[in-house]
């Protein structure tokens, strides 16, 4: 549980399927804060609540210019059905083949069960881990940690003068 990537680590790049015919590459999203939410499975009741909460908080995340990505080992069609059922407005990435490869790179793979840990990462604009947290698998971690981390990033960006400010207000 304590093996997830820690603050200051460069987030490993990856390309994953996001819909049956679309890929998403992490480095393409550089320049804005990112929230990576690894979770064990679509449809399980706890992540149900977790994704519902995050979906509700997208406007709050966007206040910090942040993008949210959900990641599990479920396949794209499963993700599509889950997203439709829960009316999700953020992408779910399929760490499906080779299974859990990206989660392993982040130390967020639970090999005994073959699923992702319930692990959260906030990346800064340069793609460095600014905050990470691994929750006990049955506990919905909520969103206060994410919001605290985003606030700190925004404060830091504002303290960095015009260049970062301009970027922030984009």
């Amino acid at each position: 549980m304590s093996s997830i990537l820690t603050v200051g680590t460069a987030a490993p790049n990856f390309t994953l399927r996001v819909t049956p015919d679309q890929d998403l590459t992490l480095s393409d999203l550089r320049g804005r804060p990112l929230i990576l939410a690894f979770y064990p499975a679509d449809w399980s009741p706890v992540c149900g609540d977790q994704v519902t909460l995050y979906n509700e908080l997208l406007p709050e995340f966007r206040k910090h210019d942040a993008e949210l990505l959900g990641i599990s080992v479920d396949g794209v069609w499963c993700h599509a059905a889950f997203a439709r059922d829960r009316l999700l407005h953020f992408p779910l990435l399929a760490d499906f083949e080779p299974k859990g490869e990206v989660a392993r790179k982040y130390g967020a793979y639970r090999a005994s069960e073959g699923v992702c840990e319930r692990a959260l990462f906030v990346l800064d604009r340069r793609g460095t881990v600014a905050w990470s947290y691994c929750s006990p698998i049955a506990v919905n971690p909520g969103a206060d940690g994410i919001l605290d981390a985003l606030e700190q990033l925004s404060e830091k960006a504002n303290g960095h003068g015009h260049l970062e400010n301009a970027d922030h207000q984009k």
Partner: protein
Amino acid sequence: MAILKTPITKSDHIRGPANAPISLVEYGDYECPHCGLAHPIVNQVELHFRGRMRFVFRHFPLSEVHPYAEVAAESAEFAGAAGLFWEMHDALFENQNMLNVATILLLGTTLGLSEAAMRRALETGQYRNRVRSDFMSGVRSGVNGTPTFFINGVRHDGAYDYASLVSGIQMRLAADTSA
């Protein structure tokens, strides 16, 4: 241990004595079926600790999955401005299975509220910020779904059935008095 970050103040909806040794705070959603199930249980718990407990309800509408949760919360605030928060609160939960705008307006008029004024308040979002501030106070306190209860400021991570809530309260009371 998740802690209630926004203390109970006069602007909260509070039922029970102000100096009660037990404070039970619920973050809830009028359209959430679990909150609907918890509603009569909370009433029983209040009865059990009568005179020793105050109950506070804060809004946590999950509007993306519950299309009428926000309107319902705002309607309770509208009723609250007329001193009828708890009446509306109870009515909303008791009619949860047929919650929609027409039902909400009907519940309001049954309580003697003006339908036109209520419709206007809902349309203009008069109480939207109030509901949002409840919601965000919950998020910052570690509310991760509904219902979430806090007993004397500490999140109750157990179930919300009668026995679990009562024993959660008793354990918190014991911890608070020994501290």
